[in-house]
Amino acid sequence: MCVRALNTPRYTFTMPIQTVFKAEIERISILDEHCEFDEKLGAGLIPDDDLVRLYEAMSSCRYLDEVAFKLQRSGRMGTYPQNMGQEAASLGAAYALRSDDWLVTCYRENCGLFWRGVPMESILLHWMGDERGNAMPAAHYATPIAVPIGTQMLHATGLAWASKYRGESRIACTFFGDGASSEGDFHEAANFAANLDIPVIFCCQSNSWAISVPQRIQCSAPTVAQRGIAYGMPCMQVDGNDIFACVYAVKNAAARARESSRPTFIELVTYRLGDHTTADDARRYRDQAEVDLWKLRDPLIRTRKLLETKRLWDSSKEDAMRQRIEVSVNAAVSRAEEIAAPPTSDVFDHTFAQLPPDLVRQRDSLQTHSLAGEQPVHTEGH
């Protein structure tokens, strides 16, 4: 025993405080709001043809937001969260990922889901109060819209883990907001992924506002990105309104995940140009000047400018695209609205693979004594 030695200070030694760890966060920007383009990082990243398609995808998603807002206001749809301003983040990821990588989203990733092939009417149907909108076909490798905030990152971790377990090269990419990065499940997911070597990409859509709560109340550190450092994973900040930067970051993260089964944390800095949902009024808590500033940083504006600079786009192409989009979005709205409400048995039939006898009795009693025929009451809620 060395108790005596331990208890006897030896003043002759010096114990300088050492730095045991240092970190820095890189910010990636390729196509900035002034349409400056970094050739070094961006050259060859997105072929011109694809860039045109990506621009049309963002424009289409934006138009859906306009239509959806009107649908809600006219009582044809329930509460809807607009994606306006945040189209590039999920689209960049969906473009950079393999089509069979899991896309585990929140509810501001419509653009990425549409790129993946999820039909527009599915998303509409979901917000029209019909679970069948969430019946994602297996081929899309997309999970349902996740309304419970900040819980789906664990599912992404589990999905990627399942792929790794089977020796597949499929990875998972999950989306959530800066508000959700305050949730415990985010931290548990990051910790599991890093410590158990799970190939998952954490994409935080850092859009400044969690309903009315500003980012400084979610995170007092200079970046949300540095939250990933604590879990020992590579992390970075990316201009989330820059489709090139989003593609670049997710592509690198996907390569890391596939090659070394390591997670990455990406903070995609963007801005929610609209209200939180149609039940919200953002004018109550944020300045118009801030919104106006971010309108200049809109991902669509800079992408269009670049296309015009490259002589790939002009106003006649824009007009033609707008017509195409209106036709396709309006057709999706029609298809969604034409889908009749399911029979009341639908409430029961997906509770379990096989219904227990008492649930069968409950189902049958509803069919005999239901109030079917009464008009549903639409109320606004979060």
Partner: protein, 322 residues
């Protein structure tokens, strides 16, 4: 046949399911190298490797949330939550996701998940290591809740749970983990979820119970000189209503016994079900013997809290002499 206690029966079921189905994997706190704090998973990591028996970080929501992802991804995860009191942090994942994923996606995604959880009091454990929250999860649509009271049932019910296409919470009554042994077939067998067991038949009164309380009920019956039928629910949800109501129609009297607090305990559901189905057959009010609507006491007083043969005997007399 082997003479096994409840821990050994569960261990055997896990081995057999893991051998049978490559999709089955275990995860949780201390389940690997240490074999679980109750040694239920003893030897399994050595046998199946760290890929299939995974020591996770200490985070219950993380364990259940990643298990949901594993299940959505086509595997059959069997996570362990170390004590029922630690289910709290995982409640959101269980109720907001595991229970709802099938409904939410109209069966496009399912969560075949078996959550193993030691449950109940009587082992001199610290706070939050002795509770009985089964009614909380029985109240959540979309989850099945199972609680065996014998080694034989433990094995058959666990195999059924792992093979079930939907999420199951499999509560293991820790008070009887090593309390007794019984013959357990070495071959695979299943016990259907949703089917009660008639432990002993009788004509004067029905006792409905589950988990380790079943053992207390058997002691009370031994001390009684009346003909008492004991129904062990085995599955909390979906409850075997037919088994309960058929017995009560026959006996006309019923005592319900559980460790959990009384208010909104499953006993209330059993009693209401009996009222709905057996009203004209009842000779006496349905009696409940339960824990109290208090916080489960620390262990010096836990035996006063838990139903015992004396309290059960009192309720039997009340029902018979009404």
């Amino acid at each position: 046949m082997a003479n096994l206690n409840l821990v050994q029966a569960i261990n055997l079921a896990l081995i057999q399911e893991m051998e049978r189905d490559e999709r089955v994997l275990l995860l949780g706190e201390d389940v690997g190298l240490n074999g679980g704090v109750f040694r239920v998973t003893e030897g399994l990591q050595a046998r199946f490797g760290a890929r299939r028996v995974v020591d996770t970080p200490l985070a219950e929501s993380g364990i259940i949330g990643t298990s949901i992802g594993l299940a959505m991804g086509g595997l059959r995860p069997v996570p362990e939550i170390q004590f029922e009191g630690f289910l709290g942090p995982a409640y959101d994942q269980i109720c907001s996701h595991a229970a709802r994923m099938r409904t939410r996606t109209r069966s496009a995604f399912t969560v075949p998940l078996t959550i193993r959880v030691p449950v109940g009091g009587g082992i001199h454990a610290p706070e939050l290591h002795s509770d009985s929250p089964e009614a909380i999860y029985a109240h959540q649509p979309g989850i099945k809740v199972v609680m065996p009271s014998s080694p034989y049932d433990a094995k058959g019910l666990l195999i059924s749970s792992i093979r079930d296409p939907d999420p199951v919470i499999y509560f293991e009554p820790k008070r009887i983990y090593r309390a007794f042994r019984e013959e357990v077939p070495e071959d695979e067998y299943t016990i259907p979820i949703g089917k009660a067991r008639t432990v002993c038949e009788g004509t004067d009164l029905t006792i409905v119970s589950w988990g380790s309380s079943v053992i207390q009920c058997m002691q009370a019956i031994e001390k009684s000189n009346r003909s008492i039928e004991l129904i062990d629910l085995r599955t909390i949800y979906p409850m075997d209503i037919d088994a309960v109501t058929e017995s009560v129609r026959k006996t006309g009297r019923c005592v319900i016994v559980h460790e959990a607090p009384r208010t909104c305990g499953l006993g209330a559901e059993v009693a209401a079900t009996i009222m709905e189905h057996c009203f004209l057959h009842l000779e006496a009010p349905v009696q409940r013997v339960s824990g109290f609507d208090t916080i489960m006491p620390y262990y010096k007083l836990e035996l006063s809290y838990l139903p015992d043969a004396l309290r059960i005997g009192g309720a039997i007399e009340d029902a018979l002499t009404f």
